[in-house]
């Protein structure tokens, strides 16, 4: 019986092709919207995660206790070289880089501007997802890199000699002259706005903090294991009193944004299901009322109500499956086409290429999104829409199941 019923249900779909096509289209659009949204949200979440664990924060950060609150220049991690060697001995550590941050005055000419010295190890930071990602020429001694926005504001040019004035770790006056090696566009907004980037050695010399740093950024090849890595780092000599935190602890608000992107996916599923429910239920109810006479005939000829109900349920399932298949195909096509080139969300806002990213707490969150899908996204759509199709068939099936043959034939 089920095979025949399924065959009849399949034929019934073709009896009113326009209505069936509209119902399938509604489900197709829903599944496509679900997959496209999931793809974009995953791409956006990837951007945020990469921006956090990449150039600025890494997977784990080490600071002297209290430095994040005070930002005092003399709150340092001592014996940095030895500490970094010990950190790198952990098998899960991809790299560990020391950094120095100090507020300074930056003077290309007589007028001084507020800036921030960033002392770093350019050989590590020029790797992929480092602060100087993509930089080919190493940072030379006595030379600095200037953030492009700072350069624009101050009129500083490559090759120009600039004065940097600040305060050393012992409280005395730090001042020295440097030559601008390059003007950089960095993934970290605060460096673009006010960064005077120099080698770690130069920064240590300027600020009188030999073999010391304010921050050690640790990148791991097991990103899900950051917490366990923190525990292991705490046992290192010289870090027992230090503050060692995962990126989730450092920027909890961005973790909320990431969680939120998952919830947006679920929200879209609910919207799609409501649309599918309306479409399928509408199609099947109309189809049921239209075929009252036919159902009456079938019942009069000895068909059991269960078979008629089964026929309607099969119609719903087939409609759902066709819609989900078409929607999945379109969704994957969309993600496949856009994943290579990405989508410039900024241009959707009419920025015409002037805005490429947005900054939050000094992090640049790129607005060029590369959509990505996971199998689970398709399965969620499939299960949700099939369930919706079944629910949508309940009402027409209930009507058909209660038909009296004589009354139905008179209809």
């Amino acid at each position: 019986m089920p095979a025949t019923t399924l065959q009849i249900a399949w034929r019934n779909l073709g009896r009113n092709t326009k209505r069936t096509a509209l119902a399938i289209l509604a489900i197709t659009v829903g599944q496509f919207a679900l997959l496209a949204t999931d793809g974009l949200m995953r791409g956006y979440a990837d951007n945020i995660r990469r921006a956090i664990t990449g150039p600025m924060i890494g997977d784990v950060q080490v600071h002297a206790a209290g430095w994040r609150q005070e930002r005092a220049i003399d709150l340092v991690i001592e014996d940095t070289k030895n500490v970094i060697t010990q950190i790198q001995a952990d098998l899960s550590v991809m790299n560990a880089a020391a950094r120095i941050y100090a507020p300074v005055l930056f003077a290309p000419e007589k007028d001084a501007f507020v800036a921030m010295v960033v002392g770093l190890q350019s050989e590590i930071e020029s790797h992929e997802w480092g602060l100087l990602s993509g930089m080919t020429e190493p940072l030379q001694k006595g030379k600095v890199l200037i953030g492009h926005r700072l350069a624009r504001k101050t009129g500083a040019k490559v090759g120009q000699e600039i004065a940097v004035v600040g305060q050393t770790a012992d409280g005395s006056l730090a001042n020295d002259l440097y030559v601008i090696q390059d003007i950089i566009k960095c993934p970290v907004d605060i460096v673009n706005q006010s960064g005077v980037v120099m080698s770690l050695d130069d920064a240590q010399q300027l600020l009188c903090m030999p073999n010391a740093a304010h921050e050690i950024v640790v990148r791991t090849n097991q990103s899900g294991q950051a917490k366990q890595l923190c525990e292991r780092l705490r046992k290192i000599k010289g870090l027992t009193e230090a503050e060692i935190l995962t990126w989730q602890q450092l920027v909890p608000e961005l973790v909320v944004v990431l969680d939120m992107s998952d919830w947006v996916g679920y929200f879209v599923v609910v919207i799609v299901c409501i649309a599918a429910l309306a479409g399928i239920a509408n199609t099947l109810v109309m189809s049921t009322f239209e075929r009252m006479h036919e159902f009456g005939m079938l019942l009069a000829l000895g068909s059991r109500p269960r078979r008629i109900v089964g026929m309607i349920v099969y119609e719903a399932i087939l409609t759902g499956l066709l819609g989900v298949a078409a929607g999945t195909l379109l969704g994957y096509l969309f993600v496949w086409v856009t994943s290579g080139t990405g989508i410039d969300m900024a241009s959707w806002g009419g920025s015409e290429g002037e805005v490429a990213d947005m900054a939050y707490r000094g992090l640049n969150l790129p607005l060029h999104i590369y959509p990505r899908l996971e199998i689970s996204d398709t399965l969620i759509g499939l299960v949700a829409i099939m369930a919706t199709s079944l629910i949508g068939s309940v009402w027409p099936a209930w009507i058909a199941g209660r038909l009296e043959p004589m009354e139905a034939m008179r209809a």
């Binding site: 507020p103 005055l105 007589k110 004065a163 004035v165 012992d170 409280g171 005395s172 006056l173």
Partner: protein, 279 residues
């Protein structure tokens, strides 16, 4: 001449307190002694008391120009205390009127010759190590001056308190004992302090405490004057201590070692070329 008058005043004060002491109960002798000594001092030094009332305008004008006069040359020590370090800087300061000042660091050796020039609302720093003069940007006016708890703005705006704030005598303060004067920022003035209050001694001649409140009306920092002594014929507090409320373990002391008032300070002292002159 002025020193002679002051000595006479001190002798009379001692005599008066001695007489008073004879009439006081042994238990509250000290309290009465201080209160009555203040009264006697007020009676003797009537410079800022007119018809029994404090001449507030005269007090504020005096306090504002206390360390400056028409011109001055002073020697001072800046002691910056932070939770993990203390630093001492010896400086020589030239002033002319309210708007011009030159501060040159004499020690430690590493910073010797570093100079700050203030002309009206502009600040320049000369850095001898790199032989560069830089102008402090307006955005740095609220930043620390020489790593201390004083801001660049304190150097530049010191002269404009009477212009930027409306002040009135609020009453008598018990912590410490003295006249309490309130300063409220005028509506069109953009500044760090919404209001601040000053406690001056009973005779109005010595500032004792100033408390600065931020835009949210929170106590932000407290300045205390102490170690009153003679400088070139003037009784002045030799020590100013600034304690920021939001930075535990931080304080800055400014100790005047010598001050010569109304000396000849040439106009050229406050030029950029003088600032950059080798010292």
């Amino acid at each position: 001449m002025k020193v002679g008058i002051l000595n006479t005043m001190v002798i009379i004060l001692c005599m008066a307190t001695a007489v008073l002491k004879a009439h006081t109960d042994a238990n509250d002798a000290n309290n009465l002694l201080i209160a009555d000594a203040n009264n006697v001092l007020n009676k003797l030094d009537t410079g800022f008391i007119k018809d029994g009332k404090l001449d507030l305008d005269a007090v504020i004008e005096y306090v504002e120009d206390m360390y400056r006069s028409k011109s001055s040359i002073s020697q001072m020590t800046l002691i910056v205390t932070k939770p993990r370090q203390t630093r001492e800087v010896a400086m020589k300061v030239w002033t002319k009127g309210k708007e011009k000042a030159l501060i040159v660091i004499e020690s430690p050796a590493r910073e010797k010759g570093t100079a700050t020039l203030k002309v009206e609302k502009n600040l320049w720093n000369y850095l001898p190590r790199i032989k560069r003069t830089i102008r402090i940007p307006p955005s740095m006016m609220l930043a620390s001056w020489m790593g201390s708890d004083f801001t660049n703005d304190d150097l530049v705006r010191e002269a404009s308190y009477t212009q930027d704030y409306a002040y009135k005598l609020t009453g008598w303060s018990n912590d410490p004992n003295g006249w309490l004067v309130s300063f409220n920022a005028k509506p069109d003035v953009v500044g760090l302090w919404k209001r601040w209050e000053l406690v001056v001694s009973a005779n109005g001649r010595i500032p004792l405490v100033a408390r600065y409140y931020d835009r949210k009306n929170r106590l932000s920092r407290t300045m205390r004057w102490s170690n009153v002594r003679q400088f070139n014929g003037r009784q002045l507090p030799a020590k100013m201590e600034m304690v920021p409320e939001d930075k535990e373990g931080h304080k800055t002391e400014l100790v005047y070692d010598e001050i010569d008032f109304d000396v000849n300070v040439p106009e050229s002292t406050f030029s950029l070329s003088r600032l950059e002159r080798k010292r």
